[in-house]
């Protein structure tokens, strides 16, 4: 009798497990973009454009870090360079290469402006992003009541 009950239970478990397993396979997952992809949305949303997605992996296959981060003056900070289309057209930042000479030119708007609208500026897959607790912001001394 006990073994019979056990058998029924195992069958039911297997069925239930199958259902949950199927759900797990089909269920949508959070963003899984490539490590070090950067979304830059300083001005794009406000200007009615999709935010820019910058793929580090694609560029590091072709150039060493030094080319952009020393020669072209890109700071090591997502969204910290205040890049505008005017600067790019004048040959600064992305415009140093994306000028139709080293790489394709700025008329290919949607190649860069390809992010999901409303995505905030961030570094995809960074350690800070993966931390469960948000990073400590420090205490604003001026707001302390003493």
């Amino acid at each position: 009798m006990i073994s019979n009950a056990g058998r029924r239970l195992t069958g039911r478990t297997a069925l239930f497990g199958m259902v949950v397993w199927l759900f797990a396979v089909v269920a949508p997952t959070p963003a899984q973009a490539e490590y070090a992809d950067i979304v830059i949305n300083n001005y794009a949303d406000a200007a009615g454009m999709r935010p820019v997605v910058f793929p580090h992996w694609f560029h590091r296959i072709r150039f060493r870090c030094k080319v952009c981060h020393a020669d072209l003056g890109f700071k090591f900070k997502a969204g910290g360079n205040a890049i505008t289309m005017a600067k790019i057209i004048d040959g600064e930042f992305c415009g140093a290469c994306h000028n139709g000479e080293v790489s394709w030119s700025v008329e290919n708007c949607d190649m860069c402006h390809s992010g999901i609208p409303g995505t905030p500026t961030h570094f995809h897959g960074s350690t800070v992003q993966r931390l469960i607790a948000p990073p400590f912001k420090g205490v604003d001394q001026s707001k302390q009541t003493q």
């Binding site: 297997a14 759900f23 997952t29 973009a33 997605v53 590091r60 020669d71 931390l131």
Partner: protein, 227 residues
């Protein structure tokens, strides 16, 4: 006989539970149900949604997803489908278990990649400095060896010195918490270069402690030794 069947059933269920946990912790968290192995047979229990397994562990299923499927690129943008999928570019490159799942340094060392050092001059060579810096670590993990060679293959001196690291012995206070929050080594590691995971600790912490090394005693123990 029946016992045997039961055992096979349990094994099957255990296998399915494993697959399901690995595949997605989300699903388990969502319906608040978890299977528990109890007393030789397999039982299903209803667990409070607050107490489910792995609520904070977010596993990435496909680490090198193509742009239209990666959750950041807009699939409705026609140009998204023109962008190169990372997997196409990574064919033949040495792999790792973290970051882009590519060992970029080894790819250069093996001559599989030759990224430009100058924007327009493909023949320019980097100025490589072969100098290892050993940083003793207070805790019991192996000491850190910082290799300038791999870093100067990619970067110029001015990228790190003097803004991030003061080029002077003992002048840089580095801690893992600072690195995890994006300072010091964390300016790049954990963002672009290899990330900080339990699988990558030993890439930096690579020099074994000297023979006879013992962990230092805490002040509380020194002041009030256990009797």
């Amino acid at each position: 006989m029946v016992y045997q069947k039961n055992k096979i059933g349990s094994l099957l269920s255990v296998f399915m539970l494993t697959t399901m946990t690995v595949a997605s912790s989300q699903a388990v968290a969502d319906n608040g149900t978890e299977s528990v192995f109890a007393g030789g047979s397999f039982m299903v229990t209803q667990v409070n949604a607050a107490n489910t397994f792995n609520v904070n562990l977010k596993k990435v299923k496909d680490p090198n997803a193509a742009p239209p499927d990666d959750g950041i690129h807009d699939p409705e943008n026609p140009a998204t489908h023109v962008l190169q999928p990372p997997k196409d570019a990574y064919i033949g490159l040495p792999t790792t278990e973290f970051g882009n799942h590519i060992d970029w340094v080894k790819a250069i060392d093996d001559g599989l990649l030759k990224p430009r050092w100058e924007r327009t001059d493909p023949t320019a060579e980097p100025f490589v400095l072969d100098l290892d810096i050993v940083r003793p670590v207070k805790a019991s993990v192996p000491d850190v060896v910082f290799p300038h060679r791999q870093h100067t293959e990619w970067l110029s001196c001015s990228n790190c010195h003097p803004a991030i690291f003061v080029p002077q012995k003992g002048a840089n206070q580095i801690s893992m918490s600072a690195i995890l929050l994006g300072q010091k080594c964390g300016v790049c590691h954990g963002k672009v270069s290899f990330p900080i995971t339990t699988k990558s600790c030993r890439k930096c912490h690579s020099k074994p402690k000297p023979a006879g090394w013992k962990p230092p005693l805490s002040e509380a123990t020194l002041k009030n030794p256990w009797k």
